[in-house]
């Protein structure tokens, strides 16, 4: 499978980090890290970049999260009362990219992060397709329908443990044997 990485500041076909001494200040990714170009690379403006993102031309986006709800709502950009850094491109990514995958810790200080409803301000409404945590993997039917489903659990983790640490309602349809998810 050939994977092409898009960097939201305006680059398609992102290459690896440069060798020491070959860093180029004009060539950075969305995390402001120095990177390199490939033979497949193209550059464009941020407007074209988000046209690509919002226009549904990007297949997959992987993000972190503070909270995910069973209906696919995502909160990952602000905690009221704390200094907010900004959402950057996250709201555009979840609104426009075909498939949104969240990778996160299952709980924060033992509090569940997979909830019936998010109580932090949303990044997107009904946008998450798949959640991968240190305990398991869940699919979310964000159009409603079948809701959230546990499809995989990490090695040594029981469904009971996952149930205790999850507030969201989910059904269990394990595929294959336990794996070291995340």
């Amino acid at each position: 499978m050939r994977v092409q990485l898009q960097s939201e500041n305006g680059m398609l076909g992102m290459g690896p980090f440069p060798y020491e001494g070959e860093e180029d200040p004009d060539l950075i990714n969305a995390g402001k890290q120095t990177i390199t170009e490939l033979s497949t690379t193209s550059y464009f403006s941020s407007a074209d970049s988000f046209g690509m993102i919002r226009g549904g031309h990007i297949d997959l986006s992987i993000l972190g999260a503070m909270q995910v709800a069973q209906n696919g709502d995502l909160a990952n950009w602000m905690i009221p009362g704390k200094m907010v850094k900004g959402m950057g491109g996250a709201m555009d990514l979840v609104a426009g990219v075909k498939r949104v995958v969240v990778v996160m810790e299952h709980t924060a200080k033992d509090e569940p992060k997979l909830l019936k409803a998010c109580n932090l301000p949303l990044t997107g409404q009904g946008v998450v397709d798949l959640v991968i945590t240190d305990l398991g993997v869940f699919t979310i039917d964000k159009k409603g329908g079948t809701g959230m489903t546990l499809i995989e659990r990490a090695d040594g983790v029981t469904v009971d443990e996952i149930t205790v640490k999850t507030e969201a309602a989910f059904t269990v349809a394990l595929t294959g044997k336990p794996s070291n998810a995340a």
């Binding site: 860093e23 950075i28 301000p121």
Partner: protein, 241 residues
């Protein structure tokens, strides 16, 4: 008409006034019009509204104008790299309007293209959509966002000619092309200034009609925010590096 100016200060002469709205290109510290920002500092205008994806870092880029308290309001998507910014924001000195990055880019593009408003699905059902018109198209909800147009735009390009035609380099392009089109007066700083006709017309990114003033800033100091590298390894026989 001669668009070229000998230095950043003369390129801004007579333009900068208190209370103005100014766009500044760049993503992080990449592709920022640093010499022009410095000239705004020297011009001393106050109560400025800046439209820029980020607010520089402490002591660099727009961070320089936070030091002199010349900025009253920022319209940005991410401001996380700046302690002085946080300080001034939390004390209420500085107003802040967050826009999703793609919405910000499109608002500027639209403003420059004479489009007063547009609908986007970014931010539907979030704080961003509060107080804004939401409409349904083909069964999906979209929020209305307004175009942005500034008094002045400051942009950075790799190469420019005496007609104001601009060419950007790699990811230093970012917000610069849209911003060049979305202000009454656009001033471009360029690393290489050439005569009209020397840039292949097929390779021009921003046509000169969008640029009113141009200044040559050779060998600008370019900073790297996150220097990430990989080690050079000896490749095993028969494999490519």
């Amino acid at each position: 008409m001669n668009k070229t100016h000998s230095d950043a200060r003369s390129a801004l002469a007579g333009l900068v006034k208190d209370g103005m709205t100014i766009m500044a290109g760049g993503f992080g510290l990449c592709g920022i019009p640093e010499a022009l920002i410095e000239a705004i500092r020297e011009a001393g205008a106050k109560d400025l509204t800046f439209i820029s994806n980020n607010a520089g870092v402490d002591g660099v880029g727009l961070g320089r104008l936070l030091e002199t308290r010349q900025i009253r309001k920022m319209i940005s998507s991410y401001v996380g790299e700046n302690k002085l910014f946080a300080q001034q924001y939390l004390s209420g000195e500085l107003e802040l309007e967050f826009n999703p990055q793609g919405t910000l880019a499109e608002r500027i593009r639209a403003g420059g293209a004479g489009i007063p408003a547009f609908f986007t699905k970014t931010g539907v059902g979030t704080l961003i959509a509060e107080g804004k018109e939401v409409r349904e198209f083909d069964g999906e909800k979209y929020v209305m966002e307004r175009g942005l147009f500034a008094d002045i735009s400051l942009v950075h390009a790799y190469k420019g000619d005496t007609e104001g035609n601009l060419v950007y380099r790699k990811t230093a392009r970012n917000f610069n092309p849209m911003m060049a089109s979305a202000a009454k007066i656009t001033i471009a700083e360029v690393e290489h200034l050439v005569q009209a006709g020397e840039i292949d017309p097929d390779q021009i990114h921003t046509p000169g009609i969008f640029v009113q003033r141009i200044v040559h800033v050779p060998n600008p100091m370019k900073r790297i925010e996150q220097r990430t590298t990989r080690k050079r390894e000896t490749a095993p026989a028969g494999e490519e590096i």
